[in-house]
């Protein structure tokens, strides 16, 4: 179950984004992490990224994953997300788990694909620090000039959301230590 029901102020710069801390309660968190640890992950690599990805989590029936899918995507929460961002109503989510190990990265991109309204990422790596790498780095892009605005450490049990647009440039910094950066990531669709 969700531990937090409130979405505090969405920051507008460089594009609308928000961090919801302590998103899941402890017992759900344990169950979800156990369930994710039991999944198979395929190594994915391109010029843009290097990471391990699960299958689409909306395609599997697992008690803990079902709870997580509700916590992230039930109607009550979708309405809160839409209200917080001032977006049109959100009809559905997709979700997959990703593991970034030593040397993995995701270079700058804006996530723009049709019908993606809000991107989210639930972070599930205990005691992660800046030195370990894996921060979510967000950019302000004006024409072709870009400036790194913030480097958000993916704190355990924090849910980061941002509005997808031509401005929503971001990247995942390279993992610099021998850790496994685990996230559940996806998009709210219109």
């Amino acid at each position: 179950m969700r531990k937090t029901e409130k979405i505090f102020e969405v920051k507008d710069f460089p594009y609308p984004h928000v961090i919801v801390k302590d998103f899941l309660d402890e017992s759900t968190l344990d169950l979800v992490i156990d369930a994710l640890a039991g999944l198979e992950y395929d190594f994915k690599e391109s010029d843009l990224f290097s990471y391990w990805a699960s299958i689409e989590l909306t395609d599997i029936d697992h008690p803990a994953i079902n709870i997580l899918r509700d916590d992230l995507g039930d109607e009550v929460w979708r309405k809160k997300v839409a209200k917080a961002f001032g977006s049109k109503s959100l009809s559905s989510i997709d979700m997959a788990a990703y593991v970034y190990g030593l040397g993995d990265f995701l270079l700058p991109h804006d996530d723009q694909v049709e019908e993606r309204i809000i991107a989210y990422s639930l972070h599930l790596t205990p005691e992660i620090t800046e030195e370990m790498g894996g921060s979510l780095q967000i950019f302000d892009v004006d024409n072709n000039n870009s400036k790194l605005i913030d480097s958000i450490i993916p704190e355990y049990n924090s849910l980061i959301m941002f509005e997808v647009s031509k401005h929503s440039w971001h990247q995942v910094g390279e993992i610099l230590q021998d850790i496994q950066r685990l996230t559940v990531t996806g998009w709210y669709h219109g």
Binding site: D47, F105, L107, P108, D110, N144, S146, W169, E174, L176
Partner: protein, 184 residues
């Protein structure tokens, strides 16, 4: 002016290179120790070049700018590839830790011949920084860094190239002279 390793100027070698180049899935040859004497120091004036989502690197005049336009090299290129390349531009490009280029940066490019002369010293494969070429329905071509090697690759419209992200753990920068020749 740089001198081409005499081995690569022998007619038997050129004939072999032409055959290998023409038969490759993505036409390509790689020639180690291409010059009799590789430039010893790499200190060109470079400026940052960034287009987010495309590339992040440093760029300046090619170290061997004159050589890449010389008749000696042009004759060699014609014999080795069987093509009639026309010089377009040459640059020295440096990829430092965190730098990269992405495949779609040249998606509107016409047919071209790319020549890359590698000036990267003391490189480790795990630092990335290798060159990648893709062509629809063909296996991608990966070219690792190798000091003193010359790589020649023919790319058709729709074929793409990039230099892989360089790890923040890299202790050095990758340095290349990158030359583009137009093709008919």
């Amino acid at each position: 002016m740089a001198d081409i390793n005499f081995y690569y100027l022998e007619s038997a070698t050129l004939s072999n290179l032409n055959r290998i180049f023409s038969s490759a899935d993505i036409p390509f040859i790689r020639l180690s120790k291409f010059l009799n004497e590789a430039p010893k120091s790499v200190e060109p004036k470079l400026s940052s070049e960034e287009k987010i989502g495309y590339y992040h690197r440093k760029i300046g005049n090619a170290l061997l700018e004159d050589f890449w336009q010389s008749s000696d090299f042009n004759v060699f290129l014609r014999k080795a590839t069987g093509l009639k390349p026309r010089f377009r531009e040459s640059n020295h490009i440096s990829y430092s830790p965190g730098d990269y280029s992405l495949l779609h940066m040249d998606e509107s490019e016409p047919s071209r011949l790319l020549v890359v002369y590698d000036l990267t010293k003391e490189w480790k494969h795990e630092w990335g920084g290798y060159d990648l070429y893709t062509s629809p329905d063909k296996d991608p071509l990966v070219c690792n860094r190798d000091f003193g090697s010359l790589m020649i690759v023919k790319l058709a419209p729709g074929d793409l190239s990039c230099t892989r992200y360089v790890s923040l753990k890299s202790q050095f920068s990758a340095h290349i002279d990158c030359i583009t020749y137009d093709l008919d």
